[in-house]
Symmetry: C2
Subunit: 233 residues, 2 copies
């Protein structure tokens, strides 16, 4: 119950910093709503009702994250649609370039692609104010809904060993496209770059060493997910 | 805090009645999960982010209804996947036969088709035990998420008057297909028929007069929705 908080959400942010935070929240929010529609479409392909429920549940989780982020954007006094629009093209492009052929590619994308994105969001959230960081942490939390998906993919690969090669390539492609579009998102807007580099606020930003450490952690986590699916990273 | 309730959910139901209730819950649950995937796919077509959010929000509402119904099926000691499977074909057939061409038809289907379905679920829920009735009422409650959709359809028709004729036909077609598949669902399973006719329990069932009154109410509500869209029913 601090008296500070009654002065309004986000009022402690400088204008340039606030701009960068809203950009970041807008980017993640659009990532979530576009992820929702992709996952929901994949759920339609699942004949197995347990798998359908798992994929649909992931989709719903992304919609809830979207609503959480949109709420925080509004609390910061910005318009969510405006905040999202600079990032529509990058995410749509990612989804166009990684449109899955069939359910199995869709499942791998749901687990691998969203895993990379969530890791990335959490990493980058360290450069924003504690309140926005908490919102992003909640939005990108591992909701533990992937077990059924991992089991299904492992089961398919066990049944058809020849799938392992193409799916391993698919996983690498997802990582490559996610990094490409992630860089586009991260460099799209000057205020967002300032936020990450720490030039718009008093907290430490990311120097080259830190960026390379982030990349290493993203890569490690990706390899662990690929291994969990039984695929070579 | 009655002592009765501690004896277990649904234990007051006779075996034949329980079978019919589980059928009904299974049918509605599959209706909700298949509605979720269709609405989510339509949300992908929406470029306007407010509209996208509204359609995605409807989809998420149907998933939540699905989870509520599935939870109650489990409480009644049945397997949700088994409970749903007899009704997969009827719902899939409805969606195949009313696959929208473009966003506008999808929006009309979301409002008109789901409106009919929800009315039907609520009508038929009067023939089940009070506990299951309450679950169905919650699952099929009007969640007030359709205003943005109605506005969008009205706006399109205002801008292109020649759309009104084809969309009015589309609305009639949705009603026709929903009734056809609704009859398939309602007569698919003997236990469900017994439930509706009241032959498997002590509450009053539906006689011919009651069925015709239900049809009248469904038709009236459909006409009101069509009028709200600015379409001739």
């Amino acid at each position: 119950m601090s008296e500070q908080s009654s002065s309004g959400v986000g009022q402690q942010l400088g204008e340039r910093e606030r701009e960068g935070v809203i950009d970041l929240l807008g980017a993640i929010a659009y990532g979530m709503i576009s992820g929702f529609t992709r996952l929901a479409a994949d759920s339609e392909l699942a004949r197995d009702l347990r798998l359908k429920t798992a994929v649909a549940g992931m989709a719903v989780g992304e919609f809830q994250s979207y609503e959480l982020l949109v709420g925080h954007i509004r609390e910061l006094g910005a318009d969510p649609v405006e905040a999202m629009s600079p990032f529509v093209e990058a995410f749509d492009s990612y989804h166009r370039r990684t449109a899955p052929h069939g359910l199995l590619e869709g499942l791998v994308k749901a687990y691998i692609g969203d895993g990379i994105a969530y890791d990335f969001y959490r990493e980058i959230s360290r450069f924003v104010d504690p309140e926005s960081q908490e919102i992003i942490a909640q939005a990108a939390a591992d909701k533990g809904r992937t077990d059924v998906i991992v089991d299904a993919v492992r089961g398919e690969i066990r049944a058809n060993r020849h799938l392992a090669g193409p799916l391993a390539l698919w996983g690498r492609r997802l990582m490559g496209e996610a990094l490409t579009q992630g860089q586009v998102v991260a460099t799209e807007r000057d205020a967002l770059v300032d936020l990450i580099l720490g030039t718009s606020h008093s907290r430490p930003g990311a120097d080259v060493g830190e960026m390379s450490a982030i990349m290493q952690r993203l890569t490690d986590a990706h390899q662990q997910r690929m291994a969990r699916l039984g695929l070579a990273a």
